[in-house]
């Protein structure tokens, strides 16, 4: 990477700012407070997070953001992982806001400012229950005079339960993919809410002729949605990297302090080797994350597929071994290790797991 490059130094500054904020201001009480809220995060803290400017990083300055890209957002997400921040930074700042900004329609621009300011949240519901990690959709948009109505089944989606606005993809009569805005309280909208493994929430969405407002223009936005989901998958890898780095640091410290058989655990060679394997997995992840930032289109999609494949594998390994090396204390909810373990499970599979991205990496192989 060219260190004199202006954007990359901006990215480094943002990353440092975000890491410092997490270190100093985002304590355990912040992290756990979402458990008491039905949406899985505390709305007051979500506004605090927004005030840090994390949500507008990928929005152009002309639209109220700071005009960064994936490199800048990756630094923020690494901090999110480092502190296992529960508020919807990715859902809003990494997905909804940049997607809306790129639609270039007055309807989308109209509420972008509120999102960036943290005054309201919007979450993209794209994946469908019958499709798993596959990105194609069957949700249909029907023109009803001046209105549009949507019907379909959207799969469990992170943070959807706490969204003021649902951003839903659907196909119109001509088979073109569009983005629609739906009020969660509207008739024909049913959300089923679950606690996720890491204490946030996910909700499935059933739409039965629900009233919607079209946000995208008349063009098909399939390519844009595809890029958005790739970006989301990548940002989750940056998040995982932050969590993995934390676990490696904390586990190494623990091995140096815990005593059994009259010596500290760091004296046992099998554990020395294990933590080195954890470090290796983490550093490999750092490598593939950086490679995505360096990759230019059209190679970026394949770089992301590689990145998510490697990150999923590494996240699982580092999470499992951190718990193992802590022994009994590692499986308690009270010790943060288990909560990082669970966040890394989310990172491993959000927007597609190792299998999905290995297949995608293969499918995107350039012709020989």
């Amino acid at each position: 990477m060219d260190i004199t490059d202006e954007t990359s130094s901006d990215a480094a500054l943002l990353r440092e700012h975000a890491l410092r904020w997490v270190e100093q201001a985002y304590d355990d009480l912040h992290e756990l407070s979402g458990r008491a809220h039905p949406q899985g995060f505390d709305p007051d803290i979500a506004r605090e997070v927004a005030a840090q400017g994390f949500l507008g990083v990928m929005v152009p300055e002309a639209k109220g953001g700071t005009g960064g890209g994936l490199a800048e957002m990756a630094g923020i997400m690494e901090a999110v992982g480092r502190g296992i921040v529960a508020e919807p930074v990715l859902s809003v700042g990494g997905i909804a806001a940049p997607l809306l900004a790129r639609l270039e329609t007055p309807e989308a621009d109209a509420f972008l400012a509120q999102l960036v300011a943290g005054e309201s949240t919007a979450v993209l519901a794209h994946y469908e229950s019958a499709r798993g990690f596959d990105r194609s959709v069957t949700t249909g948009a029907r023109q009803d005079g001046a209105d549009v109505r949507l019907s379909g089944e959207k799969a469990n989606t992170l943070d959807l339960a706490g969204a003021d606005t649902l951003l839903v993809t659907g196909l119109d009569a001509n088979g073109r993919l569009g983005l629609y805005r739906i009020d969660p309280a509207a008739e024909g909208v049913t959300l089923k809410i679950y606690r996720t493994v890491d204490g946030r929430t996910t909700a499935s969405l059933t739409l039965a002729d629900a009233s919607a407002e079209r946000l995208s223009g008349s063009d098909d936005i399939a390519a844009l949605v595809d890029e958005t989901l790739d970006a989301a998958a990548f940002l989750v890898c940056a998040e995982a990297l932050g969590a993995m780095r934390y676990l490696v640091d904390v586990t190494a410290d623990y091995l140096k302090t815990r005593k059994q058989f009259g010596q500290t655990l760091d004296r046992f060679q099998v554990l020395q080797h294990r933590i080195v394997s954890m470090l290796l997995a983490t550093e490999e992840t750092a490598g593939v994350v950086e490679a995505v930032i360096d990759a230019k289109q059209p190679r970026r999609a394949r770089a992301i597929a590689l990145c998510k494949t490697v990150t999923a594998r590494s996240a699982r390994y580092v999470a499992q071994q951190s718990v193992q090396l802590h022994g009994g204390i590692g499986v308690t909810d009270e010790l943060k290790i288990s909560r990082y373990f669970k966040r890394l499970m989310m990172c491993e599979s959000l927007f597609g797991d190792e299998d999905y991205y290995t297949a995608r990496y293969e499918a995107l192989r350039p012709p020989a």
């Binding site: 798993g132 049913t190 009994g328 491993e348």
Partner: protein, 397 residues
């Protein structure tokens, strides 16, 4: 799936049919959805088994059991688990029961064994302490003799189901000796004695399995000492040897694997069942291979026991593979659950929300089991410790 012990396959089918016919539906549903059964559920089921002569079947006939061989007991327990019965809590029937039968006085046998068999007294195991994890000899809980009582002071940690228990069997320090293994005694205490305090510990599956137990001047009558003072380590080794026969939960693995299959068949990926997807199917088949390998390995070891062989380091090998297998099967389950957003439990609906109450699912049951199984390579001697045991016992390293 084939079963490796043809001579016991009729018995295995009997057990499976018995469970199907007699396990109360509400308990079966809890097992299926991995909802923690109540103590009364376990008692209900144990009493049904006891009515059929199948609870404590591995105890000798003179102690009220059926005198099953280790092989028959293995087949019984695995068949029960495979058929979806809740796991029998080991602390009474599998752990302290055989210890009392072997080392107890007649008075201890009369006092404790009947209440284990008829499920009226619940036991827990108090070995581990903050300083005594992998290195059990680091235990510090003091028992001082004062007249016809021992007075206990100290702390136990990770005590499973202490919150249900009426009795606890403990390793305590009765004297300071040159070697830490000496001076350890095995004693039985009533959990309702004044001075015992229990603090729950929630594990990463968000359930309450384990506890901290504090002892503050707890008086235990001397007649509750098992064996002599200083026999604790020997008795603990005896218990370990009996415990070893049931370390590999192949029956539970069968049930979980079949549950993985069910949820993968009912979960669609790009419109087709996930079970049809080649990468997933390959991983599933691999887990099945591991399971059948472990069954074959266990069958071979237990047949050896039937011919008089004493299991040593082989039990550690069974524990290593058994725990790894449950972890890999439930990890596969978590891959299905990942397609449902890693939903762990339904969230009660917020007031006035435009929602519908979600139901617990089999996918989240597997997910929760995956979380708990992370402990399987830690408790009962971690897998690192098992490797140490084998390298020492087998190769003299």
């Amino acid at each position: 799936m084939d079963y490796p012990l043809p001579e016991l396959s009729a018995f295995r089918l009997d057990v499976i049919r018995f469970v199907e016919a007699n396990l109360p539906a509400d308990i079966a549903e809890k097992v299926r959805l991995n909802i923690e059964p109540e103590k009364s559920d376990l008692y209900r089921w144990e009493q049904i088994l006891n009515g059929h002569g199948w609870f404590c079947g591995h105890w000798p006939v003179h102690a009220g059991g059926a005198g099953w061989s280790p092989l028959k007991r293995y087949v019984f327990e695995q068949a029960m688990a495979e058929a979806g019965a809740p796991p029998l809590q080991p602390f009474g029937q599998a752990y302290v029961g055989p210890v009392i039968i072997e080392y107890g006085t007649d008075a201890q046998k009369q006092r404790f064994l009947p209440k284990i068999i008829d499920s009226t007294e619940f036991w827990c195991q108090g070995y581990s302490e903050p300083s005594a994890g992998s290195d059990l000899a680091g235990l510090k809980l003091r028992a001082e003799r004062k007249g016809d009582h021992y007075v206990l002071n100290g702390q136990k940690l990770w005590t499973s189901y202490a919150h249900w228990a009426d009795m606890i069997f403990l390793l305590v320090r009765t004297s300071q000796e040159d070697r830490p293994q000496k001076g350890v005694s095995f004693i039985l205490a009533d959990m309702h004695t004044p001075g015992i305090t229990i603090r729950p510990i929630i594990t990463l599956d968000m359930k309450h399995h384990v506890n901290e137990v504090f002892f503050d001047n707890v008086e235990v009558p001397v007649e509750n000492l098992v064996g002599d003072e200083g026999d604790g380590w020997k008795i603990a080794k005896f218990l370990l040897a009996t415990e070893r026969l049931i370390v590999a939960e192949t029956g539970k693995a069968r049930r979980l694997l079949s549950q993985v299959r069910t949820v993968a068949e009912n979960t669609l990926e790009a419109g087709k069942p996930l079970f049809e997807q080649s990468a997933f199917r390959r991983a599933f088949t691999e887990a099945e291979v591991q399971l059948q390998t472990l069954e074959a390995f266990c069958a071979r070891q237990l047949k050896g026991v039937a011919q008089g062989k004493v299991l040593g380091f082989e039990a550690s090998l069974m524990k290593i593979r058994g725990s790894e297998l449950l972890q890999s099967i439930t990890e596969l389950g978590s891959r299905v659950a990942a397609r449902k957003g890693l939903a762990l439990s339904p969230e009660p609906l917020p007031e006035g929300s435009n929602g519908e109450q979600a139901e617990p699912t089999e996918a989240s049951a597997l997910l929760s089991e995956y979380l708990f199984q992370r402990a399987a390579t830690i408790y009962g001697g971690s897998n690192e410790i098992q490797h140490n045991i084998v390298s020492k016992a087998r190769f003299g390293f």
